[in-house]
C-alpha cells in the first residue's frame, strides 16, 4: 500500500503531482484588489477598453455573493491566492526557446510529442501566461489563427473586441466576473469560413506554484461552414493548500459550422475547478462539448449551448470520476431559442472511496422553438457504499410542439458482473476496471484514439486498489 499524504492523495498514483522550483519573471502579492487588476493590465500593455472591462468586472465580483446552490465553496479564501504569475518574458513558437525547466515539465506531460504526432497546433500555459503556442504552417496558410488570447488582443484587436465577453458577460456569475477581472492566457482560435481543421488543436494548462490561481480565457470563433476540434488538458502539483482554476470559454459557431471542444481535466485533488463554458450556435451549426473530469477537489462546470437560430444542434457528453475527497458537480445546459433545434446530453458519473459525482443540467425550450428535440441521459455508477451520486435535472419547457426525453439510472457494480468476468480468469481489479471502462465507453468512443487511450489510462489509475 502506497503512503498517502494528508490530502488522501497517493503520490505514486497521481503522476503529475511533481512541481518545479519557482523561477518567475514576476509574481504578484497575494490577494485581489484594484491595484492588482491595474497591474495585470499594465504589465500586459492592454488597450484602455480592456482595463476598464477588468475593473468593471472586479466591482461586480466584489459585490456578487458566492453561489450556494451547488458544491461547498465556503473554504475558498480569495485573499490567499496569487492572481498573477508571469513565468517567462515571452512566449515561443519553438520548444527549444522555452526555458529548460518549463520545457521539461511539458516533456513529462507528453505535449511536444503529441504535437509532432497528431496535432494541428499546440499551446502550453504555465501559471498565468502561455509559454508556447504554435500552429502548423499548412493551417496558418489557410487563415486559421491559433494564439494565446493576450497575443490575439495585440495582433487581432478588432476580432477580440467584437466577440470578447459577448457569450459570457462578467455579470453572468461570480466566478465569470473574477475571470473577467484577472484573466490571463488561454487560447484564441479563429477558423475562416469553409476551413476544416481536421486534426485537433490542443492547449495544455499547468499550474506549478502553491496557492496559485489560474484564470485563462479562451475564445473560439468558427466562421460559416468551418470545423475545428479543440482539446484541452490540465494538471497541477499536489500541495497541502488549495489552488484555484477559474476559466471562461466563449465559443461562437456560425451558420453550418461545427465545433468540438474536448476537455480531459486531471487537476490535482487540491484544486478548485470552477469554470464557465458557453457556446452560441447559429443556423444549422453544431456545438459539441466532450467533458472529462477526473481530477480536482471540487469541479463545478456546466458547458452550455445557446441554439439561437433554426437547425442548430448541441451535444454534451460528460464523464466524471470522483474518488476520495472529491466532489464532481458537472453537467450541461442546452437552450433552445429557435425552432427545429436539437440537443443531446449524455452524462456518466462514477463515485468511489467516498467521492461524490453527479449531473446538474438544464434543458430550456423557449416559446416558439417548435419542432425542437432534446434527449438527456444520465447514468451514475457507484463503486462502494461510502460514495454518493446526485442528479439535478431541470427542464423548462415553454413550447408544446417539442420532443423531450430524459432517462436516468443509478447502478452499483454488481457482484454478478464481477463474478462473471472473474469466472473467465480475469482478476478482480481488472474485472472492476472493465466494468467501469464499459460504463464510460459510449463517451470514450467519441474521442480521437490518443485521447481515448489517455482517458482509459487515467480511469485505470483511479481504479487502482479498488478491489481489496
Amino acid at each position: 500500500m502506497a503512503v498517502t499524504n494528508q490530502l488522501g492523495i497517493d503520490p505514486d498514483k497521481y503522476k503529475w503531482g511533481f512541481h518545479d522550483p519557482e523561477k518567475y519573471v514576476y509574481k504578484s502579492r497575494k490577494g485581489l484588489d484594484r491595484e492588482i487588476v491595474e497591474m495585470i493590465s499594465s504589465m500586459k500593455n492592454e488597450p484602455e477598453w480592456m482595463r476598464a472591462y477588468r475593473l468593471h468586472s472586479l466591482e461586480h465580483f466584489q459585490q456578487r455573493p458566492m453561489p450556494v446552490w451547488g458544491a461547498n465553496l465556503a473554504q475558498i479564501d480569495f485573499n490567499d491566492i496569487y492572481y498573477y504569475l508571469k513565468p517567462t518574458e515571452k512566449k515561443e513558437r519553438s520548444w527549444d526557446e522555452v526555458p529548460e525547466n518549463i520545457k521539461n515539465t511539458f516533456e513529462k506531460l507528453g505535449i511536444p510529442e503529441a504535437e509532432r504526432k497528431f496535432l494541428a497546433g499546440a499551446g502550453a500555459q504555465y501559471e498565468s501566461e502561455s509559454v508556447y503556442h504554435n500552429l502548423k504552417e499548412e493551417w496558418e496558410k489557410l487563415g486559421v489563427i491559433f494564439l494565446d488570447t493576450d497575443s490575439a488582443l495585440r495582433e487581432h484587436p478588432d476580432i477580440v473586441r467584437e466577440y470578447f465577453g459577448t457569450v459570457v458577460p462578467p455579470e453572468d456569475n461570480k466566478l465569470a466576473a473574477l475571470n473577467s477581472a484577472v484573466w490571463s492566457g488561454g487560447s484564441f482560435v479563429y477558423v475562416p469560413a469553409g476551413v476544416h481543421v481536421d486534426i485537433p488543436l490542443q492547449a495544455y494548462f499547468r499550474i506549478n506554484a502553491q496557492n496559485m490561481g489560474q484564470f485563462e480565457r479562451t475564445l473560439i470563433i468558427c466562421e460559416p461552414g468551418s470545423y475545428v476540434h479543440y482539446v484541452e488538458g490540465c494538471t497541477a502539483p499536489i500541495y497541502t493548500t488549495d489552488s484555484l482554476h477559474s476559466a471562461v470559454v466563449e465559443i461562437i459557431v456560425k451558420e453550418g459550422a461545427r465545433c468540438r471542444y474536448t476537455t480531459i481535466q486531471n487537476w490535482s485533488t487540491n484544486t478548485y475547478n470552477l469554470v464557465t463554458k458557453r457556446a452560441v450556435a447559429y443556423r444549422d451549426a453544431t456545438m459539441e462539448w466532450i467533458d472529462g473530469n477526473l481530477g480536482s477537489k471540487i469541479t463545478m462546470k456546466y458547458p452550455s449551448v445557446y441554439m439561437v437560430e433554426p437547425g442548430a444542434k448541441a451535444e454534451i457528453l460528460s464523464v466524471a470520476f470522483a474518488g476520495r475527497g472529491q466532489h464532481q458537480d458537472p453537467g450541461g445546459k442546452v437552450i433552445h431559442a429557435a425552432p427545429h433545434t436539437q440537443s443531446v446530453i449524455v452524462s456518466k458519473s462514477i463515485a468511489k472511496d467516498g467521492g461524490r459525482a453527479g449531473y446538474r443540467g438544464l434543458v430550456k425550450i423557449y416559446p416558439g422553438a417548435n419542432g425542437s428535440k432534446s434527449a438527456v441521459r444520465c447514468d451514475a455508477l457507484i463503486l462502494d457504499d461510502q460514495s454518493r451520486s446526485d442528479t439535478y435535472p431541470t427542464m423548462e419547457i415553454d413550447e408544446q410542439d417539442v420532443s423531450i426525453t430524459h432517462e436516468a439510472t443509478v447502478s452499483k457494480v454488481s457482484d454478478e458482473q464481477l463474478f462473471y468476468l472473474m469466472s473467465r480468469g480475469v482478476k478482480a481489479d481488472e474485472a472492476m476496471n472493465m466494468i467501469v471502462r464499459g460504463f464510460v465507453e459510449p463517451i470514450v468512443k467519441e474521442l480521437p484514439l490518443e485521447y481515448a487511450v489517455e482517458l482509459n489510462r487515467l480511469i485505470a489509475l483511479e481504479m487502482e486498489g479498488s478491489v481489496g
Binding site: 457482484d415 473467465r424 466494468i435 464499459g438
Partner: protein, 276 residues
C-alpha cells in the same frame, strides 16, 4: 485420484441449506450428466464449484487436481482450467465480446502484463466461430447485451471453446434452445471433446434428457433435494425420460425409507442408492 472430487458438500444461501452433503468425482475424459428437477441444487453446485460468492459453503470440501478448490478465487479456478457455461449469463455494457474474450484467453494462457498478440487471437477466434457456426458480428457487440436467449448460450459455448478448459460445467445450456440450436451447440461440444483427446471433462447439467441424445454421457447422476440420489450409465437418462422425475422420486422415497430402516446400501435394478 480424480481431477475433481466433491466430498460431503453442504451449501447454504442466507439461512436456507440447498446442498445437503453432495458427493461426486469426475475426471478429464469423462462426461457426467447431472439431472434433477428444478430446485434440486444443480445450479447451486455449479456456481459453488466456480466460486460464486453468493453461496456459503458450510461443510465439505472440493479437491481440484488434489488441491483445495474452495480456497481459490474464481479467476484462479478459471486460469487453472475450470469453466462454467452459465444458465443466465449477465451482460457487461460497453465491453465488446472480442475485447472480453481476448482478456480472458490471455489470462487462461498465462499472459500476465500483456495480452495475447492480436493476430494470433483473431485467428483462434475465427476458427472457433466457424466451428460453432456463430455469426462474426456477435464479437463486436457488448457482452451479452441485448442477446437473445439462444445467442447468450452460443456465446457461452464460444467462450468455452476459446478457453479450452480441463473441466467444464455446462449449466442447462440446452434450456431455451430450439432443437436445431441444441444440435449445433452439441456438435461444437463433441468437437471440443474429440479435439481434447481425453484432456477435458464435462459436467453437463440438464433438466431434460434431450441434449443427451447428442452429447453422450459416460455417467448420469440424479439430484433431489440437495443430494445425489442415483447414479448410473447412459441408460439411466432413458429411464428418466420414460418415467419422469416422479417415477424416480417414488422409487427414491421407497429406497430412502428402506435405507433408513436398514442403514445399508441397497441396489434396486438399474437404480441404486449411493450412501454418503
Amino acid at each position: 485420484m480424480a481431477d475433481l472430487e466433491i466430498k460431503d458438500l453442504t451449501v447454504q444461501v442466507e439461512d436456507k441449506v440447498i446442498l445437503k452433503g453432495a458427493n461426486l468425482t469426475l475426471s478429464k475424459g469423462e462426461v457426467h450428466a447431472l439431472m434433477g428437477p428444478n430446485g434440486s441444487g444443480k445450479s447451486t453446485l455449479a456456481n459453488v464449484l466456480m466460486g460464486n460468492p453468493f453461496y456459503q459453503v458450510v461443510k465439505g470440501e472440493v479437491l481440484y487436481k488434489g488441491q483445495d478448490l474452495l480456497a481459490m478465487s474464481p479467476d484462479e479456478r478459471a486460469r487453472r482450467g475450470l469453466f462454467i457455461a452459465f444458465q443466465y449469463p449477465v451482460s457487461i455494457p460497453g465491453v465488446t465480446m472480442s475485447s472480453f474474450l481476448r482478456t480472458a484467453v490471455s489470462a487462461r494462457r498465462g499472459y500476465d502484463k500483456e495480452l495475447m498478440p492480436v493476430g494470433e487471437f483473431q485467428k483462434l477466434l475465427k476458427q472457433k466461430m466457424d466451428e460453432l457456426k456463430i455469426e462474426p458480428a456477435i464479437v463486436s457487440r457488448y457482452v451479452n447485451e441485448g442477446f437473445s436467449g439462444g445467442e447468450k448460450k452460443r456465446a457461452e459455448i464460444l467462450q468455452m471453446a476459446m478457453l479450452e478448459p480441463e473441466i467444464a460445467i455446462m449449466d442447462e445450456t440446452d434450456s431455451g434452445l430450439d432443437i436445431d440450436s441444441v444440435k449445433v451447440v452439441s456438435d461444437g461440444v463433441n468437437r471440443m471433446l474429440e479435439r481434447a483427446k481425453g484432456t477435458m471433462g464435462i459436467l453437463l447439467i440438464t433438466h431434460y434428457s434431450r441434449i443427451l441424445h447428442f452429447i453422450k454421457p459416460s455417467y448420469v447422476h440424479v439430484m433431489f433435494d440437495g443430494r445425489f440420489v442415483v447414479s448410473g450409465g447412459p441408460d439411466l437418462a432413458e429411464e428418466l425420460e420414460q418415467s419422469g422425475y416422479e417415477g424416480i422420486k417414488a422409487q427414491f422415497e421407497v429406497i430412502a425409507a428402506e435405507v433408513q430402516a436398514e442403514g445399508a446400501v441397497r441396489r434396486a435394478g438399474k437404480v441404486f442408492w449411493v450412501e454418503h
